[in-house]
Each structure stands twice: as structure tokens, then as C-alpha cells.
Symmetry: C2
Subunit: 324 residues, 2 copies
């Protein structure tokens, strides 16, 4: 610990994020050091000023730390915290045995109860990022009861977005996916329709499925130019594209957006702000986002955790580090 | 009349839109022909299929015509009507003695009562475009009770947006204006603060006024790159910039928008859809958007109506064509 507001968390489960692969693939520069930003664990020690978590607590740590008290945190945008930051840019990461968590009171959420089964722990792990991120896409796109929603992207975030849209009351959820295993998981999560086409064909298909109107909410969960283009074209006039994939080569066509009255809204999910809302549903068994974790290994096998995702053998890799 | 769904409306009041000036200035190509898209008038004649308006009705005609029955109209986005269009691109315009209005049942709104005073007629005229457009900016930015709102642009639309934000319950409305007469009208419309600075200085001022946080809703009512840049920078994380100025040289900085969680949403206002909601407030005297019309002339003086706006001697020009 370096600050009295820190906690040290012994990692139980960690996982690999699609964005970690940028380093793995050499697409982003990487200096040897801690990595990872999604984990649950048990509090080992807390600084003198920490009040809301205690040694021995099972905690969920969101991918960004935040004080919980600044105007942005109070407004629910914890990823804009005036004093916060992102793992592992602060010098510590989740893919390791223990993590120093800054601003522990604002950042960590203790999980009530004990003896949670393995499946539930996996779902709790997804609240650190991917489930909160899928939920953010749905929130940004104003998904509401009875909506027709399309999700662009069948990665762990896209699949989580399907689950989030269903949870928020969407009547019809169109999952855009080419991979059979992901299509099946999307259906398990509540997708009512699958579109396997891509690009113009996918757009035509969704238009046809919606009587030429487009969807009430399009959730862009990839971050590429093509995914955003698809989302913007299938979104009905008056709707907002919720986007959560970190933009890579995305350009926003302002004239087309304007004349079609289609907005965009998104960003790094305030996962911390969403945990209280989503946690109850996980603990009650109403949602099981942990199913996106379809590969597992331990810290010694971490290289394989990356390789499995890189080669698309896995949707998302779980890394078992310790036990509760 | 050419279609059984047409009505012919004798124009009472018309006005000049900022967008009409593009033709006046030669910034947009113009072929001699009808122009104008904001007017109120009296129905002269209706086609065989018209049911909702009758000869002699005082009507408001929004700047776009729409059938009122397609999925986009039913969804409230009448400017995306599957069968609609925009004046004067259909070959007829409001700055003349009479207008053929297509899809009269969907497009026109009859004004109840009679003997409306001149001031009220001016306010009714603004529902054809500028008040609905200001309202659209506020709706797209999700302005709600208690919000801190900033309006970029002090033209007729920006001033209407001030009024709209106040009407929707904004607690604080920051009008960004350099012109004293417009500042005063903004205050009459409910602006609580004036920022006369522009660009970086304006951004710094608004940040300072909001404790470094930014505003809950930024309304971009100009359409230039600088105005959009200002709006995006003063918008707090998690908020949406509502934009209604037709984009001219606007580029949307997706990376900055993403990492700040600031969205954009806007387009041609579905003025028709907003008329029922706004009309009652005009008739009850709760809002008086007609005050933006600070210059007036008749059809013979139409050139001067343009010149006064072009030279910024007028906020917006009223053209008196006939009487009720």
C-alpha cells in the first residue's frame, strides 16, 4: 500500500479483455509490467482511511478506480472521476496474485453472503467490466420496455449487451453474429433473431426484418468503422447508437447522422456505478453473464488464455488465481 | 392542387430562416422559384381526401410535410416521413401569397379560437420551425427539471432553445451571446447567465461557472465546427449535445467524445410532432417565442427582410402577407 485510501486485494478470478489483446498483438506499445483490469478477490489489507471494505471481504473491482465522491462519480460517470484512473495504467493490474487498489472506498464493492458457487463467481467477475460495458451500450442507446434492439458484435461485450438489452425489457433482440457457438449463447441470453450477414447485406437484412424502419436501439460493441457504420445505418430515425467498443478507425458521418436524426453516445462504461444494480440480479440468479467465460486456465497458463482469444477459440478467458 | 390530399393555404405571416440566407449569400445554388418554409395562413381549399382541416381554418404549417401515419411519423420523427419532404424542395414555398401543402391531414395543424392578437400570431408562426427546432435541441440533449443548460448560438433558434430549456425545467440556462439585444431577449426567455466570450475563453468561462464539471446539457444551435467544438467541450461527461444547426464544416471527434462519454443527437426538428405540445403554451401565453421576430416587412419588402438578417440588423424577419 502506498496511500491510506488503498486496499490490497488477493485475486481470486481474473480475466483477459479484448483490449488486452492489442498489447498481445503488438498493436499497442507495451512495457513489461502488470496487466489486466478485470478481477474479483478477497481484501488482504486496507489503508487507515478505508471504511467501506474490510479484510476478508469478497470484492468486485471495476476496471477503473474512482473516489465515489466527485461530481462525475455522483452523476454516475465513475470513469470520468476527477481523482480516478484505469488499471493497469496506474502501475498495477488484475492478472496477478494481488493488486493495490487505489481509492478503495469508492472503487470496490463487497459481495454479500458467502459460499457462492463457481458459476456465480464467474458472473460476479463480469461485473468488473464486460457486463457493465454491455449494459452501458444499452443505457446509452436508451433501451426500454418493448424495444427492438440490434447488437453489433458477438464478443463478450456484445453478448453481454444482448443480456443487458433483454434485462431492460427489449422485446426483440437481433444478435449480429457469424459464429454458431456465439449465436447459441446470444440466444441463451435472450436474442430472438440472429443475423449472420455482415456489412451491406446485414443492413439490408435488419431493415427487412423491421419493415424498412430500422431498430429502436443499435448497440455498437466492436469499435471498428464497419461496425459503427452498420449500427448507424440500422438505427431508426430518432434513435441513438450506444457504442462501447474503443474506436479504432471510426469516423462519424455527421451529415448523415443529422439528416437521419440518429445520435451516438457511449464511452468507457462506468462499471462501478452499475455494479449495485447488476449485482442483485446476479446473486438472485436472474442473469448469468459469466457464461461468456468459455475458456479457463491459471496464472501459469496465462499465455494460452491470450492465445485462445486471439485465435478466436475462446470468447473470453478466465484465469483462476486463488480461492475465496 | 394536384393531389386529393393537398390543401391550398393563403399565407398570413411568413418569415425568413437563417438557412434561406445560404441562397441569398450564394453559398447554396438557387434556381429562381418559390422559397421559404415557415408560415401560417388560412386554408383556401382542400382536396377531396382531406379530413382534418377545412376551408377557413387558421393553420400552422411546419417546414416539412409528412403523412402522419408512417412508422417514423408515429414515432414522432415527422422529418423522416416515408412520404414526406421539405419546403420549398417540392416546388412551393412559404414566402408568397399562397402555398400548395401536400399531405395536408398529416402536415397542417388548425389553431383553435379566433381573433388572436398580432403577438400571438407571431408566436404561432415560430411553431412552423424555429421554436420547434430550439425545442428539438433541448429534447435531444435530454434537458430535464433542475438541469444546468448552455445554449451555443444566439440566433432565433438559439434564443428559442433558451425558452425551450426553461420550459422543460432547466434551473440555470447559460446563453452564449455577444450581442446586447440578443442577450436581453435571452434573459427575457429565461437565461440566468450570459457568456459573451467565444472559443477557448467561452469554454473556460462555462467550466469555471460549473465548478469544472461542465453543463448537464449543451444545445448547439449554429452548425459550425467551432460551435460544435464548444458544445462538446462544455458538456459534462455522461451528457448529450443536442444539435440542430445544419452542419457546415462540423467534424465529430469520436475519440474525445468516447473517452469523455459525451454523445451527440440532433437533426431536422420534427416540428410537426411538437406543435400540439407547444401550441397550448402559446395560446395560454406561457411562452412567447414570437419575440424573436424583431424586424417586419411585407412581400414587396422581402429583399430587405433578407438584408436585415444578413447584416445582423435583425434576429429574424417577419413578412406580413395577408390577414386572418
Amino acid at each position: 500500500m502506498t496511500e491510506p485510501t488503498d486496499a490490497v486485494v488477493r485475486v481470486v478470478f481474473a480475466c483477459v479483455c479484448g483490449s488486452d489483446l492489442w498489447y498481445y498483438r503488438g498493436e499497442s506499445p507495451f512495457e513489461a509490467g502488470p496487466i489486466g483490469h478485470e478481477f474479483i478477490g478477497v481484501v488482504e489489507d486496507v489503508g487507515a482511511e478505508v471504511r467501506s471494505v474490510a479484510k476478508g471481504d469478497l470484492v468486485i473491482c471495476p476496471f477503473a478506480f474512482s473516489d465515489g465522491t466527485c461530481p462525475h462519480c455522483k452523476h454516475g460517470i465513475t470513469t470520468a472521476c476527477a481523482n480516478g484512473g484505469f488499471f493497469p495504467m496506474n502501475g498495477d493490474g488484475g492478472q496477478g496474485e494481488a493488486v493495490r487498489v487505489p481509492l478503495a472506498d469508492g472503487t470496490l464493492v463487497s459481495v454479500p453472503g458467502s459460499g457462492h458457487p463457481d458459476d456465480m463467481l464467474r458472473s460476479l467477475l463480469t461485473l468488473s467490466d464486460v457486463m457493465g460495458t454491455g449494459h452501458h451500450a444499452a443505457v446509452c442507446a436508451n433501451v426500454k420496455q418493448g424495444d427492438v434492439v440490434a447488437v453489433v458484435g458477438d464478443g463478450a461485450v456484445g453478448l453481454s449487451a444482448v443480456l443487458a438489452a433483454k434485462r431492460l425489457g427489449a422485446e426483440r433482440v437481433i444478435a449480429m453474429s457469424r459464429h454458431q457457438d456465439r449465436q447459441e449463447l446470444a440466444q441463451t441470453f435472450g436474442a430472438t433473431d440472429i443475423v449472420a450477414e455482415r456489412g451491406d447485406e446485414a443492413i439490408a437484412k435488419v431493415k427487412e426484418m423491421t419493415g424498412g424502419v430500422g431498430v429502436d436501439a443499435a448497440l455498437e460493441c466492436v469499435g471498428t468503422g464497419q461496425a459503427m457504420d452498420t449500427a448507424l445505418r440500422i438505427a431508426r430515425p430518432g434513435s441513438t447508437v450506444g457504442y462501447v467498443g474503443v474506436p479504432h478507425g471510426v469516423e462519424l458521418p455527421v451529415d448523415r447522422m443529422f439528416f437521419r436524426n440518429v445520435g451516438v453516445r457511449g464511452g468507457p462504461a462506468p462499471a462501478r456505478a452499475y455494479i449495485p444494480e447488476l449485482l442483485g440480479d446476479v446473486l438472485d440468479g436472474r442473469i448469468d453473464p459469466g457464461r461468456v467465460l468459455d475458456y479457463e486456465t491459471d496464472l501459469d497458463g496465462i499465455a494460452e488464455a491470450y492465445a485462445a482469444m486471439d485465435e478466436r477459440r475462446a470468447i473470453k478467458s478466465l484465469v483462476r488465481v486463488g480461492s475465496v
